[in-house]
């Protein structure tokens, strides 16, 4: 059971999309898991053949539990068809598993490929106790409460653990707005770009200048990410929000970003998200301008270390080339983790963002 966010402790296996004997490829969606944030598609990260499905549908299991066993390409079937592959386990651990009613096939050894010990069985038993098996309830009536609970857990943890600092700057977006309008005139309805798309690209590219805003705080240290996976905060129908990843946002064209945004937004608002989209954003972007908000200071989604907020574009009286002109202006904000970066570096990020937005044709 993969962790699909800092706030997830367990998930309910709703559906298997593969069966024993099926060939699977890296990145393939193999199962659907119900979490507090709705149904999520689970991908597999190895090529191989499904050997056995360990967790049956309808069971709620803790993060880290084995869902299925996979054979590597070329690996022989370990046992006769129909018989489960035999786990490598010490006799004393096998006896303990029997006493505790633990299926040894579901126990992971401490070292990958190692022999299962008594301690491994005890750990599996403790995990099962923490998340007792429960039947999946179709369309749980308390879904909304579950979503609020998930947001409460993640945001409380963030405010408890992360020393936030907050910066704001007003950016003249007249040039990029005009450029986008001219670009969209040339395009058919279905090919038009939303105003947030060039902003996404500029945020992602600006992070190259200040890499300490992009990555994760894990085990007391910052782990920067070479890739920029932009978590786009999207409101869910009926309340709550999720921030799935737009992968490699700094290296994608505006058209590719628009296509990705359309894809995740459609699935957030009506369909299903994939596990990797939920768990791997390296920074979050929240754009509340549509609601008429001029600025927002976000709360960092752990283990990320920064969140960028974009407000609405307003026409303001603005000093421009030595005179006062009516310009389109947007407030951009940064909430960042002071354990990893300082206000000076955060300021450089916002300055880079403002600069990139003055030359939109280079963002393509």
């Amino acid at each position: 059971m993969p962790s699909l966010g800092a706030d997830m402790e367990a998930g309910t296996l709703v559906e298997w999309l593969v069966k024993p004997g099926d060939e699977v490829k890296r990145g393939q969606v193999v199962a659907v898991v119900e979490t507090q944030k709705g149904a999520i598609e689970i991908e597999i990260w190895e090529n191989g053949t499904v050997d056995r499905l360990v967790v049956e549908t309808g069971r709620k299991v803790p993060v880290g539990e084995v869902l299925a066993l996979l054979r590597a390409p070329g690996e022989a079937v370990a046992a006769a068809p129909g018989a489960p592959a035999r786990a490598r386990i010490s006799p004393s651990a096998r006896q303990l598993a029997g006493e505790l009613g633990i299926d040894v096939q579901s126990v992971q050894p401490a070292l990958p490929g190692g022999v299962i010990s008594r301690a491994d069985v005890e750990r599996a038993a403790a995990a099962r106790k923490a998340a007792p098996a429960a039947a999946a309830k179709p369309a749980a009536p308390d879904w909304h409460a579950q979503m609020r609970k998930a947001i409460a857990a993640a945001m409380s943890r963030s405010k408890r653990e992360i020393p936030h600092y907050y910066l704001a700057t007003d950016i003249d977006v007249t040039v990029v707005s005009g450029w986008l309008a001219a670009e969209n005139v040339k395009r058919g309805v279905a090919e038009r770009l939303l105003p947030v798309v060039p902003l996404m690209k500029a945020v992602a590219v600006a992070l190259r200048a200040v890499p300490e805003l992009n990555g994760f705080w894990v085990d007391g240290a910052f782990r920067p990410s070479a890739a920029v996976h932009l978590g786009m905060a999207i409101a869910m129908r009926g309340g709550g929000l999720v921030a799935p990843a737009i992968h490699d946002a700094d290296r994608k064209s505006l058209d590719a970003l628009m296509a990705d945004l359309r894809d995740v937004a459609t699935r957030v608002r009506g369909g299903r998200l994939r596990g990797s989209e939920m768990s791997d954003p390296t920074i979050t972007l929240s754009s509340l301008g549509e609601q008429g908000v001029e600025g927002l200071f976000g709360i960092i989604y752990p283990p990320q270390v920064a969140i960028v907020g974009l407000g609405k574009v307003t026409e303001r009286a603005w000093a421009h080339h030595g005179t006062v002109a009516v310009r389109k202006v947007m407030t951009a904000t940064l909430s960042a983790d002071h354990r990893v970066s300082d206000g000076h570096r955060g300021g450089l990020f916002l300055a880079a963002l403002a600069r990139l937005l003055q030359e939109p044709e280079k963002l393509r």
């Binding site: 279905a190 939303l194 009926g238 459609t266 608002r269």
Partner: protein, 86 residues
């Protein structure tokens, strides 16, 4: 293209809104009030409404005219005008 009646246009708009925001009750929409204050539509949803209307009615809607589709009544007026002009 044959001329569409205002009723056909209104019904196409309501069908589109229901497809994108399945939770709405079409009869409950106040025709003179902004749609985005009555229906949970984000900018991507709104763009999808425009795309669907373009596909079903065959009317091109430039981005600079999006504001004219703010309410149900203004959207019917606008699309009827574009339909006659087209």
């Amino acid at each position: 293209m044959s001329a569409l009646t205002r009723e056909q246009i209104r019904s196409a708009i309501l069908d589109t809104l229901c497809a994108i925001a399945p939770e709405i009750e079409p009869a409950g929409i106040a025709p003179g009030a902004p749609l985005r204050e009555q229906i949970d539509l984000d900018s991507m949803d709104f763009l999808n409404v425009i795309i669907r209307l373009h596909e079903t009615l065959g009317i091109d809607i430039p981005e600079s005219d999006y504001a004219q589709l703010a309410t149900l009544d203004s959207a019917v007026d606008y699309l009827a005008r574009r339909n006659r002009a087209g």
